[in-house]
């Protein structure tokens, strides 16, 4: 198809970099644990996008299979993570990471 000629692979690298850095920024800047979770999803998706782009540009389908597995792991991670978050909220009555600093010393 024309995409390989139309769009350089570097564009996808920079797009993924930007998305990843926005995700990292969100983890650093927000206090709500759920939003931090969502920013982690954003970072995972940036990596997925880069993997699909490389897989397409190199004609190797293994990258897309790995993206599929990453999605499976992300779904499992979100289910367990949100369950933990609900339990923490039930005990501490907050999802604010500045309050949930009991493990710090």
């Amino acid at each position: 198809m024309e995409i390989i000629k139309g769009i350089p692979l570097n564009y996808y690298i920079f797009l993924s970099t930007a998305l990843f850095c926005i995700g990292a920024l969100g983890v650093m800047i927000r206090r709500n644990a759920i939003i931090m979770f969502m920013c982690i999803e954003l970072m995972l998706n940036a990596v997925n996008l880069l993997m699909v782009a490389f897989s397409r540009y190199l004609g190797d389908s293994n990258g897309q299979v790995f993206v599929f597995f990453i999605m499976a792991v992300a779904a499992a991670e979100v289910a367990v993570g949100l369950a933990i978050l609900i339990m923490v909220y039930r005990n501490a009555n907050t999802s604010d990471t500045e309050v949930l600093n009991q493990l710090k010393w």
Binding site: L19, M28, E41, L42, A53, V65, A72, A79
Partner: protein, 166 residues
Amino acid sequence: MSITLIIFWFLSFMAIMSALMVVFAKNPVHSVLYLIITFFAIAGHYLLLSAQFLAAVHIIVYAGAIMVLFLYVIMMLNLNKETEPHKKPIIKFVAVVAAGLLMLTLVAAFKGAEVKVIASADASIGSVESLGKVLFKEFLLPFEVSSILFLAAMVGAVYLSKKDLH
């Protein structure tokens, strides 16, 4: 400017803008909705890269399952208010500088990188048929192991969210 390039710029703009809105939106529910827009833009990128199967799975798993879970938890914990506490301005400033430096480093590292591209790469690798063949031949064992992962996650989630753990 070709039509693919225009679509690429449009989808990239949409993805980055809504990703920024995820970080800077005051209301957690708005963050979730912006994240869904980001996911749809990324699914559009997958379609552009002719990975139809992944685009469909991405929309079903992320927009369909994960974000609904997020919305459900936010509604359940009643966090949909704008009066969320914020970090100190100095910490915010440091975080923005740190993220900007990370971005600068990565861009500088990748700028001169020569990436090998196979111009005659087969576009049909993203179709359901060819991906299914790879998945069930070469990656059969990881595929089955991921079902165990799901079982473990399911048991863990149910156990954790039980009311009386003790």
